[in-house]
Amino acid sequence: MGMVEFRAALDVLDAQREADTPDGDVVVEALATLKPNRTALLSRDDLTRMFAACYWALDRFAEARTAEPQTPGWRAHWICIGLIEATVTDDAAGYRAATQSGVNRYLALGFDRGGKPPEPVKPVPHVPMDLEEATGLVAPYLARLEAEIAEKPYSHLKLAWDVFRRPVAPFDVVFEHWLADLDARGVGTGDSLPALREAQALEKIAQEGRQVVGWQTCEDVLLPKLEHPHPMVAGCAGKLVGSLYTPDMDRFGNTTPWPLTKMMDHLTHVQGCRRAVAGGFVVAFDEMPYLVEDLGDAFDLDAWVMEILAHPLGEPYVPGAQAFWFHVHEYYWRDVDFMFGLLDAGHDWIAYMCATEGAELALVRPVLDRIVAGETELAEAARTFIARKEKSG
């Protein structure tokens, strides 16, 4: 495994690009070979050839993106996406420090974990290209992302989030320029770059869980951010406010915050991205049961959830804070009465997500049957789900 295999796979892909009728299986196999053999130290030539092969495959199998999973085209599409996105981020950054820590203990203290030396620390990725060349390398991919923004104004943010959180030079600068350019042209929400900066700042402070915030600062600075028009900023503000309420830390210093229940009530009055804010707030507690534990029995969680969902603005996928529906479907997956409540309120998709989360079919069948009878867009999905469950017994 290594560069020999990587370059052999590139040769195969070059030949397929020249062929009159490329063989999908051969292409997928070659792309799949690139993935594990891609090192942190690819040469300029290797990178250029890999990106060229990926762009060709993405075009060649353009129709396959939404095709049946596991077809050659579908696999080729997603392997290419994975290769490109892994190259513009430092995908080992998340565990490099942990690996180094294992190596340190092994070397210094003899903690040999059963006699096996620890996994070596992965080198820092190297992109042997000028800024201009690197910009040219990813330009076709950024153009693809940009084309999606008209329909999905937040679709580019996940990758941009990863690029800034696990940066690889010079792609961090390439993305910064690109986002600034999108904003200057008013593409998407027109504030992608400042929104990312602000959301990442809020999320990082929430995640660190150390910052003491006086109540006055929370009220004057953080609560207004819950009304931020960008769901990513609002969601991360929700996460930071939620993190201040986690029980094992005195994060408000010697000031007195609103009680948790009052803050929960405040969230139901958020006019902007209410669901995003609530999703961020809950994830600060990890998941709903921990929040419920802190709230006590007197709090009517079901009613609170319905009030959050009552806000008409849907939930676009944004990075940084967990979507609200996710918490709901994890918590209510066996609560059929609540699922019916969701259906009554028109939240069919969330009810469907609850019902298909993992409970036995017999329990959730009435909910699914009602979705099927509704003849909405979800009916077919519910019908398929029931059939699959019945078949598997």
């Binding site: 942190a40 130290l41 040469s43 300029r44 180094q100 820590s101 190596v103 340190n104 203990r105 092994y106 070397l107 210094a108 203290l109 003899g110 080198p123 820092v124 990725p125 190297h126 992109v127 042997p128 290209m129 000028d130 800024l131 201009e132 060349e133 690197a134 940066p167 690889v168 030079a169 010079p170 961090d172 600068v173 910064e176 320029h177 600034a180 900066r197 602000e198 990442q200 700042a201 809020l202 990082k204 402070i205 910052q211 915030v213 600062t217 600075v221 953080l222 930071l240």
Partner: protein, 411 residues
């Protein structure tokens, strides 16, 4: 500074270095412009890290750097050669700046400041002069980078005969703040010099283990058992490589800073026993003691004040321990990762002329000089000590002592 200014600086270098007798001051000025380019940029001037060196520019910079080192191969003495001295220093800094991440130690701090500005709508704190810390980027292939670094590595290699630890500070920086692809290039080079038995012959292992020990000491969170301390850690004091011994000292010092918190099993040896153990080491005694004091006091306070009032050392002769450490005839070497022993000694004993006198009696004139010249205001009794030092034969000791007497004591 933008791309145009970089090109202008390189053109100035081209012109000056092409002349039969390049002027060191002019060459230095052109390098100064390049240095400015590498400094972090202010956001209001450059909202992004817009200007990076291109591969072509880097080739030119390395060529000129090596041209300077060929043209002026040594650091010259004398005021008249100040330009050459500065120029060599600039070139060394510029080259080594490519090998490490120059913001590696402060990036997280700077980013944290920016996060607070953004999250809490605060102004940037005054103490953060520039929050931007671009990632290092070297836009050339591994093999070309290796070829560009090679002459510099050969220069380092050539010094190893006379100074077998002279390459360690740079190698440590590369390990601590890596900048791709030089982390890989240095690893390969270190393996090569170890295979050739250059230096002390085990640079790779010393760096890996020293770095591991220093990192654990710095984190301050690692717990140990008495068994691990006795069987795994203390034996590393006797490692022949001073880097391993010094960093082991630092780790043990960190553990003894708070034994209640740091030991998770077994009763630790008393602190006095550890000091005695260090005082009796056959090798690298100063390196271990320096590292130990570093671990006890990461923040560079006056560690001897704390030691002398530490209840664990009641009745212990700390001054005597210092002299036992100095009795090791092996001179102190500069080690990355573990503070030199002389440093905390001179910070504390600069106010203790009788002790400095004793150091002179013991033949420790260099150490005594550092103590006696530390304070920039008169210390009662220190003038006589400086006078003794001013009368020794070694001009490297006598001249600075005389200067200090003139500057501080004859006002």
């Amino acid at each position: 500074m933008g791309a145009v200014e970089v090109e202008a600086a390189l053109a100035a270098l081209d012109a000056e270095m092409a002349s039969p007798a390049p002027d060191a001051a002019a060459v230095s000025a052109a390098f100064g412009a390049l240095e400015n380019h590498r400094r972090p940029r202010y956001p209001e001037v450059h909202p992004f890290n817009e200007v990076m060196f291109t591969g072509e520019q880097i080739r030119g910079i390395f060529a000129h750097c090596y041209g300077v080192l060929d043209r002026w191969p040594d650091y010259p003495g004398g005021d008249e050669n100040r330009d050459v001295w500065r120029l060599r220093w600039q070139v060394k800094t510029l080259i080594e700046g490519f090998f490490v991440d120059p913001h590696g130690d402060s990036r997280a701090f700077r980013q944290g400041s920016l996060d607070h500005v953004s999250a809490f709508n605060r102004p940037l704190p005054d103490y953060v002069s520039d929050p931007h810390s671009p990632l290092p980027h070297f836009p050339l292939d591994l093999e070309e980078a290796r070829a560009l670094a090679l002459p510099y590595l050969q220069m380092l290699e050539a010094r190893l005969d006379d100074a077998p630890l002279s390459h360690l500070p740079l190698c440590w920086s590369v390990k601590e703040h890596p900048a791709a692809p030089f982390d890989v290039i240095f690893n390969d080079w270190i393996a090569d010099i170890d295979a050739l038995g250059l230096g002390l012959g085990n640079t790779g292992e010393a760096l890996r283990r020293g770095f591991a020990l220093a990192s654990l000491a710095q984190s301050g969170r690692q717990k140990v058992s008495r068994k691990a301390m006795d069987h795994e850690i203390l034996p590393q004091f006797d490692d022949p490589h001073p880097l391993i011994a010094g960093c082991a000292g630092r780790f043990v010092g960190r553990v003894y800073k708070d034994t209640k918190r740091s030991f998770n099993n077994g009763t630790p040896q008393p602190l006095a026993n550890i000091l005695d153990h260090i005082g009796a080491l056959a090798t690298n005694r100063r390196a271990v003691a320096g590292g130990f004091l570093h671990g006890l006091d990461d923040f560079g306070n006056n560690v001897f004040v704390d030691l002398k009032k530490d209840p664990r050392l009641e009745g212990y002769d700390v001054d005597g321990w210092v002299m036992r450490i100095f009795a090791d005839p092996v001179p102190e070497v500069h080690l990355p990762g573990a503070q030199g022993f002389w440093f905390p000694v001179h910070e504390h004993y600069c106010l203790d002329p009788p002790f400095v006198d004793k150091m002179i009696d013991a033949g420790l004139t260099w150490e005594a000089l550092l103590c006696a010249t530390e304070m920039q205001e008169p210390v009662d009794g220190m003038a006589a000590v400086l006078q003794r030092l001013a009368e020794v034969e070694d001009r490297g000791i006598a001249d600075p002592a005389r200067n200090c007497l003139e500057r501080v004591y004859k006002t």
